[in-house]
């Protein structure tokens, strides 16, 4: 295989864009059910009558059985951490969301450490990705039992599930 040596100096460039934000999509009304459940502090999952798997957030197709998942069930708000990640301390200019710095917009606090976790709620065969609250980074472990931290006034939106916190024995 011949090594190509004829590299040339950098050339100029021309610009262009792709308007990905101008697209639109179609979504089923499933998340509506899910967020309506959150208002009543319930986590709703969908169940496949073929293989018995319970998925949350609800999904309406089971690819394993290639059939619809029409049944719904309510899951426990207790669960187990199956995986976690510990972020370094939040700094300015490190993350970008739609071109804005979350520290400037106040979404994240300077210097805080985030612990995104995967939680498998009791009764589900899937994970939900959320934040671990009220816990120190060094005490997290896989298999930790946690419960949901609900928003003070659930409004029926995804943000009602603020995160999870460890279940502490008194």
């Amino acid at each position: 295989m011949a090594y190509l040596k004829d590299e040339r100096p950098e050339t100029m460039m021309v610009e262009g864009d792709w308007q990905v934000g101008a697209y639109r999509w179609k979504a089923p009304r499933l998340l509506e059910e899910f967020s309506a459940g959150l208002k009543e502090k319930k986590i709703i999952g969908s169940m496949c009558m073929g293989c018995g798997k319970v998925i949350t957030q609800p999904r309406h197709l089971c690819g394993r059985c290639h059939r619809r998942m029409d049944e719904r069930c309510v899951l426990s708000d207790w669960g187990t951490i199956t995986c976690f990640v510990i972020s370094p301390k939040v700094e300015k200019g490190k993350y970008k969301l739609f071109g804005m710095d979350p520290v400037d917009t106040g979404t994240l606090k300077l210097g805080e450490i985030l612990i995104p976790v995967f939680v498998r709620f009791d009764g589900a065969d899937s994970n939900i990705n959320c934040l671990l609250l009220n816990a120190k980074p060094e005490e997290v472990f896989i298999g930790m039992r946690v419960k949901v931290v609900w928003a003070k006034e659930p409004k029926g939106q995804m943000a009602d599930l603020e995160g999870v916190e460890p279940i502490r024995e008194k």
Partner: protein
Amino acid sequence: MEKKSGVIVVNGLPIVQAQFNWSVGFQMQNFLKALANKKFLASKCPECAYVYAPPRNTCSKCYKKMEEKDLVELSGKGMLAGWTTAYVELDGKGNFVDLKKPKLIAAVKLEGANSTLFMPLEDIDSKKLKVGMAVAIEWSPETKGGWKDIKYLRAV
């Protein structure tokens, strides 16, 4: 209870867009830079003599490489091969916008080149257009070495 329609329409955020800056490669760079001097370059395949305008580094017919030495200068005049009158145009976000004044788009074979170029055509009534008509490049008053240097094509 009234049954809602099956789907929810999810709109994107128009501020989100992906932006690109494509590097042009040496042949196109030669071409773009030469535009500043009101020169229109092309490249001639050393094997099959097909002339590509704008120039490129590979011949699509015989797959031979073309270097700087294969660059040729075109006269900037050409022949009309085809055209269309545009009554709408895309706004870049996927909408057709009606044009107040229709635009002419010409397919032109520049003198000495085999490629067909697609360029704006102005200063002529669309009813007078004929295949084989002579056209020429109208240069911008100020040429800086970019696509904007070519203002449009005009009938000779």
